[in-house]
């Protein structure tokens, strides 16, 4: 096997993502905005409101089954009020990466939306204060895959093929080619865009939830949501096998059988609604 690509190179490639010609203009614009260390909710709201396509996408997302307000949010200012800076920032990133996700890996968006929904439901069941923030973490947890696929298309394709041939997860096969995985790639991107450490942790550690210091519960939730969505077989995240649930995270989240059945059935309704829309 060829030499593994070292982490430092990957990091710089991740951070230069907006220089890529294949990255859509909206994402470049948004990324320039998010790179500013301080941005107010008001500013962010204005950027969205001034862009009709973005407004439509954001409103569609917040009114979808993944978030808790079906059909009730009719304006960007209402959305920003209800959801707050981190969620709006995350959604903005989510909807602008959507196109890339579908182009680079068909099914990744469906997987991500389902994870967003499962994360929110679990966060609500656990009584967390900001279930929508956890939902955004679920939405963005695999954003690193999109970036690796863009910057290292050939190698990532090969890693996916190996995952398929050997019946292993993409996370395992990634680490044979890269010194950093999609989890770290996502971490670097979110750090560059000034997401708070509590959100960054969930992305960075969604495969090793016990390592999270800033948000162990939220990270455990995203980990569990990811495995539940794979168990149900919704969308495609780069492989065809369910990874093992981390037992410490599983115990921490401690869902009853009824909880799990309810989540699976909500995921089904969400997937059904998405299918009927297209």
């Amino acid at each position: 096997m060829a030499d593994k690509i070292d982490a430092k190179t990957i990091r710089s490639k991740v951070e230069q993502i907006n220089t890529l010609p294949t990255v859509p203009g909206t994402l470049k614009r948004i990324s320039r905005t998010l790179e500013k260390p301080r941005i107010s909710l008001d500013e962010l709201g204005k950027i969205i409101s001034n862009d009709p396509a973005l407004t439509t996408k954001i409103l569609k997302m917040v009114n979808s089954a993944s978030y808790g307000f079906p059909g009730r949010i009719s304006s960007v200012s209402h959305a920003t009020m209800l959801l707050g800076l981190n969620v709006i920032k995350g959604l903005l990133l989510g909807v602008s990466v959507f196109e890339l996700m579908e182009k680079t890996m068909t099914g990744l968006w469906e997987h991500s939306m389902a994870c967003a929904m499962a994360s929110r439901i679990i966060a609500q069941k656990k009584g967390l204060k900001e279930p929508e923030e956890v939902s955004v973490c679920g939405l963005l947890h695999d954003i690193g895959k999109t970036i690796l696929m863009l910057q290292y298309s050939e190698i990532f394709q090969k890693a996916m093929q190996e995952a398929e041939n050997n019946g292993i997860t993409i996370y395992e096969s990634e680490s044979r080619h890269f010194s950093a995985t999609h989890a770290e790639a996502g971490q670097w991107l979110l750090q560059k865009w000034h997401f708070p450490p509590t959100l960054v942790d969930t992305i960075q550690y969604h495969h090793q939830p016990t390592l999270s210091k800033n948000s162990p519960m939220e990270t455990a939730i995203v980990h569990v949501a990811d495995v539940l969505v794979r168990a149900k077989g919704l969308g495609f995240a780069g492989d065809h096998v369910v990874p093992e649930l981390n037992s410490a995270a599983w115990d921490m989240v401690s869902l009853s059988e009824d909880d799990i059945m309810e989540i699976l059935s909500d995921l089904e309704d969400g997937a059904q609604a998405a299918r009927e829309e297209t």
Binding site: K232, G233, E268
Partner: protein
């Protein structure tokens, strides 16, 4: 819960979601549709409603269960994963009615 075109509705079908125009709910969740309701929905130019019952699935039940076993093949020996596998199996079976 399948979404059904109004022209395909039959008396006796049950609404799975309330039907609303703007902010006003016209028919509540659980309404049993009769001939009169159905023709009125048609008159109001409603196109689709959500009906109780299993939705159409993209693959057959047998296929869905085979895919499930294949997905879990690496982890099925672990007790907590086997338990999850069983729950998902029950869930899949429930999607196909009976």
């Amino acid at each position: 819960m399948p979404k059904i075109s109004v022209s395909d509705l039959k008396p006796g079908m049950v609404l799975a979601k309330p039907l609303a125009r703007g902010n006003m709910v016209i028919l509540g969740e659980g309404t049993v549709l009769n001939e009169a309701w159905i023709s009125r929905l048609d008159d109001m130019n409603v196109e689709h409603v959500y009906i109780d019952g299993p939705s159409e699935q993209p693959v057959s039940k047998e296929q869905a269960l085979r895919d499930l076993e294949a997905r879990f093949r690496n982890v099925i020996d672990m007790p907590h994963m086997r338990a999850l596998n069983n729950l998902v199996k029950n869930h899949i079976e429930s999607l196909y009615g009976r």
